[in-house]
């Protein structure tokens, strides 16, 4: 199993995708800090507390990027027909999906760590330039970092699950977007029960990055999102195992 997980990391390292996504996220992170720091209308003046707010800004998009990596990592095998070679080496297809379920959450976490480090560095620099010394021992900062890493990891897991089920890369990407942007909203209004909304996948993800309010607790959100991911992956694996690779 370890060699399959290592092979997944080799696959990730040897195409440009992961570098492009990381670069894009880092650039986005710098932009969020600049935007947050310069546009202070209605916001409290810059203070040591601003630091955790700045660092928290890219977390939602980070979760999306981790989801994207997971989807492309699984569906890309079908798109480029590399799945033929992958299954020739490892005929036990369930093990291949399992290796991806381990590798992509880790990749999501690595992406989040890199992006958060860039965000923190730029934010700290900006605040320092304004004579403010941010505290790295801030409890709120710890919660932000934990939430961002958890969300990115679990979204990587969801991405692999979705793509194992859908297989077609475009369908998996479009389907995920439509689900998040349209279907969940429709479900909420159709069910006439806003209290059920917190059980939807994106609400579970939101509970991890910003728990409380109408959301579940962070632990509840994490467990729910992990459950969604594993259910998708399990159903997807069953399909992948049976499907003819032609």
């Amino acid at each position: 199993m370890t060699r399959l997980i290592r092979a997944e990391f080799t696959k990730l390292r040897t195409t440009r995708l992961v570098y492009s996504v990381t670069a894009a996220m880092a650039a986005f992170a710098v932009l969020t800090v600049v935007a947050n720091a310069t546009d202070r209308q209605g916001a409290p003046p810059l203070s040591a507390d601003s630091f955790s707010t700045f660092v928290a800004a890219p977390t939602t998009l980070l979760a999306g990027a981790a989801l994207l990596l997971g989807i492309l990592g699984m569906a890309g095998e079908f798109r480029h027909h590399t799945v033929t070679q992958t299954f020739l080496v490892t005929p036990d297809r369930g093990r291949v999906v399992a290796a991806k379920l381990v590798a992509y959450p880790l990749a999501g976490i690595a992406l989040a760590l890199t992006t958060l480090a860039v965000t923190a560095a730029v934010a700290a620099g900006w605040l320092a330039a304004n004579g403010i010394t941010p505290s790295l021992l801030d409890a709120r900062l710890g919660r932000v970092l934990l939430g961002a890493l958890l969300a990115a990891g679990l979204c990587g897991l969801v991405g692999v699950g979705v793509a194992a089920l859908v297989r077609n890369q475009v369908a998996a990407l479009v389907g995920t977007l439509v689900w998040v942007l349209v279907v969940e909203g429709l479900l909420m209004s159709l069910l006439h029960a806003p209290s059920l909304g917190k059980w939807l996948p994106s609400a579970a993800a939101a509970a991890i990055t910003s728990p409380g309010g109408g959301h579940l607790s962070r632990l509840g959100g994490s467990l729910l999102l992990a459950a969604y991911a594993l259910a998708l992956a399990l159903a997807g694996t069953r399909l992948v195992v049976r499907r003819a690779i032609t």
């Binding site: 092979a7 080799t10 440009r16 480029h80 049976r242």
Partner: protein, 299 residues
Amino acid sequence: MAAITIEGLTKRFGDVLAVDDLSFEVDQGTVVGFLGPNGAGKTTTLRMLLGLVTPTSGTARIDGQPYRALADPVRHVGAVLEASSFHPGRSARSHLRVVATAAGLPLARADAVLAQVGLAEAARRRVGGFSLGMRQRLGLATALLGDPQMLILDEPANGLDPEGVHWLRGLLRDLADQGCTVLVSSHVLAEVAQTVDQVVIIAGGRLVAQSTLAALTARTEQLVRVRTPQAEALQPLLAAQGVQVDPDGGDQLVAVGTTTEAVGQAAAAAGIVIYEMRAERSNLEDVFLQLTSQQGVRA
């Protein structure tokens, strides 16, 4: 025990019966050509043998085991199925390193097989920029990675230039000399005729013939090609002697299984003028076409 055993193998895709109760064996250390026209079911058979497609019924075994049950498949069997199964953004070397990592092989094998197939220079180039011939070579490199004792190749000569085909023949012959079992598919007999010991011919998903190449060559026939203004008169004359005669356009006839002497005698006796006459042998390709066209068209 046979290296490859196909027994009653059948695959139905919806209404299409792609492979129909196919059975054959490949002995250890032989090079077998797996032949048939396009759409005969060669690729589906090979994919079933490699555990990529589940048969509707029947079994395909390698050394007595289904591919999916092999402990270390890459060290056991090398396969080349299609020339396009590479990530276009990954270099040839990285592609091989991914496979080596997953198979638990030393990464140095990647450079060794690249050199073996003549791609050492292109090792760090992205596969997206590779020609079809280079992809075929990379496919072969991937198959050789685990230094297997068996190779299963689906149309490996597709996209290779004449120099590449020559190189491929040499490679297969070397591997055969080392005792490697090779099953190589093709829709052109001539492509593999110089390399293989035996042929398995299928058409319409069914076995048409399995024989040694020598036995197939023995099925080629002596032909006499005749040009005469009295073709209509000569044809029944030869047919009466039990010779199969086919018109070959205009004033030409092809008499199968006879000699120029016999045709000349018959023509002289009947006072038929002959402009031109020559003896030839039908070639392997004719035998192949004859075999596959008889069985290939089924209701």
